[in-house]
Amino acid sequence: MSTVDLNSTTVETTRSTKSRYRPHQSGLNVISRPWDFAFMLLIGIFSLFILIPMALVVIVSFSSELSITKVGFSFTPTEWTLDGYKYLFRVGDQLLNSYLVTIFHSIVGTLMAMAVMTLYSYVLAQRRFRFRLFYTWILFFTMLFGGGLVPTYILNTRYLGIGDSIWIFLLPGLVSAYNVIILRTFINSTIPDTLFEAARIDGAGHWRIFFSVVLPLFKAGIATIGLFQIVGRWNNWFTGMLYIQKPHLIPLQTMLMKIQQTIDFLKQNSELANTPDGLRLLRELPNQNLRMATTVIVILPIIFAYPFFQRYFVTGLTVGSVKG
């Protein structure tokens, strides 16, 4: 009975996200005009508080170096230019490299993590499984206690030898206990136990049930967690900072941090540095707008992609907060 209840809650959450603010349409009372205006104003102010700093970065990326020396980073530069972007594409070997590293580990890492985590969550969702509690607790305990940074670092670099390699992005961090528990809640709340039973009676094994019953019914859950994984990996600068020395393995966000410290990082790893002409060009490179242009290029994919997936990020977490 309780599964059915949970089930209907989920459906309702999804539906109501599409038709939000029903109260006003169904003829319920609304707040007065002045209050509505005040709320719009406050919400607008908070939106500007978010947008203005980002707008500044974009504007600086189009400001000429001359303007920056004269009036600093400004919303109204004295001179506009595309130089930052032009140079970025000329010396962008490192940028391209980092882009590839990040894309690779975002996609492959997410696929690997989703495979391991969905399988594990399927096991946790089997209420009749005798070892369910064992597997639940061995996972759940990692949310309460952990070895921390240093033992993990020593393990990865000294004993596993995956320190300065692509594996450091893929293997550690493969399973997030929190995500697995959300996935388990997803399965339990969208797929009634009776469906498992029915499949079992029809002679389907667990693999069969997993692939032909659970996965198709479970797309929304996988999409939500998968998107969080991709964003988390795209934004990961820590792994690169802690473990990676080889320039060709530096991910995008770590590169961004490095050029924040020194724009030379881009220049040193450019092929242009091999010729005298190229070297002169590199020395004359604009610094600040190039830095901001790089930032814009790094956040561009996120800004463009996320409005399309926005609803997954919301529904996913509301379902995830249902107590397991």
Partner: protein, 315 residues
């Protein structure tokens, strides 16, 4: 009675029935992962009691008792980083919760649906930016020679000597609170809004029949419905109160040494002891201290919540 029957049935079933084999295989990759990357590092905590050196490794380095802890707590550092971590987190929890709940209540009441939709999309944006990016955004304002703030001050006062904000301690506590709110409040607000829109209309319809105003509805229907998600968020946050947000405290102040007194948290301290001082023993000790107090806070918070409201507790 029902329970004893279940127990009997369980007893009669073998421990490893053939049909369960598939389940063990499915769990195996996750289990292997957990053993290697979650449980082996816990054993590695032994380094907190060792005089670790790279030549001998974990198995050969000599034990040194509590020397690492004594060294850690003898300095003033332990007190400062613990204070910073806990106080910042408490302020974050309070400020973010207040702003997020307030904004979500306002979003619900808006008459214009399209306005609410557009602002929601904007609200969530910073949540998807990395701390590396946020640090650059902040730097655009605080940069010493080119930053917006210094140029603005120069224009207003005619003062030509720019301030290096990355050495001025007093601005950082409020600034870090603001930056943290900038990044996460909008997202929480949208999340609460999703919970609000999941509340059944019947409550509001009944309230309207009883003559309740929108304010009364918010007070007696909407806010009580948010109680569960708010308490879950607070539990999670309280359980992590000894865990500083590394990205915020490391990237945004640009790891500026002059600011450590107000920006250093346990996590940044551990990282620095490892990478800069290369003191494996002491940084492990700091990590163990963090994990242990974190563990007990989590249990304590959960117990308290269970007393007050059993439905909202985590386990």
């Amino acid at each position: 009675m029902a329970k004893t029957q279940t127990e009997l049935r369980l007893k009669r079933r073998p421990l490893f029935p053939k049909e369960d084999l598939a389940l063990h295989v499915m769990a195996a990759p996750g289990l292997i992962y957990l053993i290697i990357w979650a449980y082996l590092p816990m054993l590695g905590l032994i380094m907190a009691f060792q005089n670790y050196n790279a030549r001998d490794g974990i198995f050969g380095s000599p034990l040194c008792g509590l020397a690492n802890f004594r060294f850690l707590f003898a300095s003033n550092d332990a007190a400062i980083i613990t204070r910073n971590t806990v106080v910042y987190n408490l302020v974050f929890i309070f400020v973010n919760m207040l702003l997020a709940v307030g904004l979500s209540l306002m979003l619900t009441e808006l008459r214009s649906r399209s306005y609410a939709k557009v602002t929601q999309t904007i609200f969530m944006l910073p949540y998807f930016l990395s701390w590396a990016v946020v640090a650059i955004v902040v730097n655009a304002f605080l940069h010493r020679s080119d930053g917006l703030v210094n140029h603005f001050i120069a224009r207003m006062t005619g003062r030509s000597r720019p301030t290096d904000w990355y050495t001025v301690k007093s601005i950082w506590p409020p600034l870090l609170v603001a930056v943290n709110a900038w990044k996460s409040v909008g997202y929480s607000a949208v999340l609460y809004l999703a919970v609000i829109s999941g509340i059944s209309d019947e409550y509001y319809e009944a309230a309207v029949l009883d003559g309740a105003s929108r304010w009364q509805q918010a007070k007696y229907i909407t806010i009580p419905h948010l109680r569960f998600i708010i308490s879950i968020s607070i539990i999670m946050a309280m359980g992590n109160i000894f865990r500083g947000d590394f990205g915020l405290f490391y990237n945004v102040p640009m790891n500026s040494g002059r600011l450590y007194e107000v920006t250093d948290v346990i996590d940044t301290y551990i990282y620095r002891s490892l990478r800069v001082l290369n003191n494996v023993g002491m940084s492990t000790a700091a990590g163990l201290f963090q994990s242990a107090v974190g563990f007990f806070t989590l249990l304590l918070v959960n117990q308290i919540v269970r007393r007050i409201d059993p439905e909202s507790s985590m386990f």
